[in-house]
């Protein structure tokens, strides 16, 4: 708990800077309006005018928090204005995508370490695949899947999986290769089979690496799910919320959705962290 104070301090500094920035960035609008009305504004009038605009360039922290609280707790969770509802839509795609991505990533990693041809050929292309702007091909993926009759949650989950498989592959390959020569030699003196070596040595020693990449992967999954929401007509989910907020110039709503997304990501990462702690402790690897 020696983290709380430093984190609070940093947050405090950020909030202070944020308020200052709010005044600074929203002031043009106030001056412009005043100029159009032909009046002068003093600094004392300026500050409150910048902190409570309906369409601010930068909303003040309290506006974001108010909106966040209002749209989270202030209404029924089934309401379309509830962030819980939208958060759930995104979360379900995230979790499915994460499961697919992790599964694919682990399988690919296993293939890579057991098959030299795969090792040499897949890695460069996996890297190249991550340099493709997902936002550009997401609509195509949706359309192609749609044309073969796949609709609903799955297309979003696939885009989400596309983003999360890469960190898992990289981490798992590293992890499965982490046993040193001596540990491998030991099993050879026992004449252990390939699958025994995998189950008893490679897999356990890859666990810390796996969890590290799962944390990266689940955050990436969330981004993927949000991106996947846009080309499906963006009807529901945090991505839809971001977009419609943007489309109707509702800055405060954008920021609230943004923070909701980050909070969900943080919660997911923390959850993976808890599982990591449990598993590693049971395996005796956490000290």
């Amino acid at each position: 708990m020696n983290r709380v104070l430093p984190v609070l301090t940093v947050i405090g500094v950020i909030v202070a800077v944020w308020y200052a920035a709010t005044v600074w960035m929203n002031r043009t609008w106030v001056y412009d309006q005043a100029a159009r009305d032909g009046v002068e504004v003093s600094f004392a009038q300026l500050v409150p005018a910048t902190l409570n605009q309906e369409r601010p360039v930068l909303p003040a922290p309290h506006q974001v928090v108010t909106e966040l609280v209002k749209s989270t707790f202030g209404m029924k969770v089934t309401s379309k204005k509830s962030l819980v509802y939208h958060g759930w839509v995104t979360l379900s795609a995230t979790l499915l995508g994460f499961a697919i991505g992790t599964g694919a990533g682990v399988l690919l990693a296993v293939g890579i370490i057991h098959n030299r041809a795969m090792d040499l050929s897949v890695m460069p292309w996996a890297i190249a695949s991550q340099t493709i702007p997902i936002l550009a091909i997401a609509p195509m993926i949706i359309v192609v899947l749609n044309s073969i009759g796949v609709q609903g949650l799955l297309p979003k989950a696939i885009i989400s999986a596309y983003l999360s498989f890469f960190p898992v592959v990289v981490g798992m390959v590293k992890g499965l290769r982490s046993p040193d020569a001596m540990q491998l030699d030991l099993l050879r003196t026992y004449n252990a089979t390939g699958s025994e070596t995998f189950a008893k040595l490679r897999l356990p020693s890859s666990m810390p690496y796996l969890f590290t990449s799962l944390k990266v992967g689940i955050a990436a999954s969330l981004v993927g799910a949000i991106v996947g929401e846009l080309p499906t007509g963006a009807v529901a989910g945090l991505g839809a919320r971001l977009l419609s907020g943007s489309y109707y110039g509702q800055t405060v709503q954008i920021w609230a959705a943004l923070f909701a997304a980050a909070l969900v990501a943080a919660a997911l990462v923390a959850l993976v962290g808890v599982i990591e702690g449990r598993v590693l402790r049971r395996m005796g690897m956490a000290r």
Binding site: W29, Q33, R36, E54, R55, V57, S79, K80, K81, S82, H86, L135, A138, P139, M140, V143, V144, N146, S147, L230, P231, G233, A234, V235, A236, A240, R241, L243, S244, G245, S246, Y247, Y248, G249, Q250, Q253
Partner: protein, 304 residues
């Protein structure tokens, strides 16, 4: 019978006719089960219909004709929108008072198939859009470029973005607008398009007749009961981002655009649109007169 309709944009009063027809049971009366898919900035209706994701799409004619030339045989089966709602909205303080002042200014334009009318207009004005005469800005989803004064003018629809500028606190008298209709460069907007090969199937054509008939009934109802239509749209908005005032006002404006149409495409409007698109300077949208890009068969059957 199932019909899937892909909209061009997010759920809003722009598409009230279809939502009304569904809510009021007009589709049901025809024995249709209609699914309405909202669009958005990342959805190209032409692509969706090419992929088989929809039976019929709402699209603007320039983009539909461009797709036809690319080999995607789209056919206009109905045209509920008579006039164009597109315009350029400028801040007075930027010094623009007439199209002659565009030179040297930055103008915001929508891309993704909506840029053709603009390019055509600029061509007509003799302004190059490569930055020498006017600087073109690909505008995003909202009116920020105008509010942040990143552009002198931005594209707006009479029924939507214009009001967002107003809602943001800019007074109408601080703005000056140039409607495409008034400048004589209007092209046809929201029409209904289907795939040519599917239309050859009499059963499908029959289904479309029913669909168009019910949809037009919806449109006419919406025109007459503007506020009720807006509320129906609001109920169908899944994002929860729309507001009542905005939708009611939008419905009022939309009614003005659909007013002149009974659903059948006016051949004169079509010719005007095609002529405009073919004259697009060095980079015309379509290079040859399209053949069979529209039909009255459906509307004739539906409206009589």
């Amino acid at each position: 019978e199932d019909v899937t309709l892909q909209l061009k944009w997010v759920t809003q009063a722009q598409f009230a006719g279809y939502y009304v027809a569904q809510a009021k049971g007009f589709y049901e009366e025809e024995g249709l089960n209609v699914t309405i898919l909202p669009g958005g900035p990342d959805v190209a209706p032409t692509q969706v219909i090419a992929g088989g994701g929809a039976d019929v799409v709402v699209d603007w004619m320039p983009s539909a004709l461009a797709a036809r030339e690319k080999g995607l045989a789209l056919v206009n089966i109905a045209q509920p929108f008579k006039s164009s709602g597109m315009m350029l909205t400028c801040l007075k303080e930027s010094g623009v008072t007439s199209p002659a002042d565009f030179k040297g200014k930055t103008l915001g334009v929508w891309f993704g198939g909506n840029e053709y009318p603009f390019l055509n207009w600029m061509n007509k004005l003799g302004l190059k859009t490569d930055g020498t005469d006017v600087t073109v800005l690909k505008q995003g989803f909202n009116v920020d470029p105008l509010l942040q004064k990143q552009a002198a003018c931005i594209s707006t629809m009479t029924y939507n973005e214009y009001w967002q500028v107003i809602d943001a606190g800019v007074k109408p008298e601080d703005l000056i607008t140039f409607k495409y209709e008034d400048e004589g460069v209007a092209t046809l907007e929201d029409g209904l398009y289907v795939m040519e090969d599917k239309l050859a199937d009499p059963a499908f054509a029959e289904k479309m007749v029913k669909f168009v008939r019910a949809s037009m009934k919806g449109w006419k109802y919406a025109e007459a009961n503007s506020d009720e239509a807006a509320m129906i749209v609001l109920e169908n908005d899944e994002t929860g981002a729309q507001t009542e005032t905005h939708q009611k006002r939008m419905m009022g404006e939309i009614a003005k655009l659909t007013a002149g149409s009974n659903g059948a495409l006016d051949e004169a409007d079509y010719k005007r649109t095609v002529a405009a698109l073919m004259s697009g300077g060095s980079d015309p949208v379509i290079t040859k007169e399209p053949e069979g890009a529209w039909t009255h068969a459906i509307t004739d059957a539906a409206l009589n």
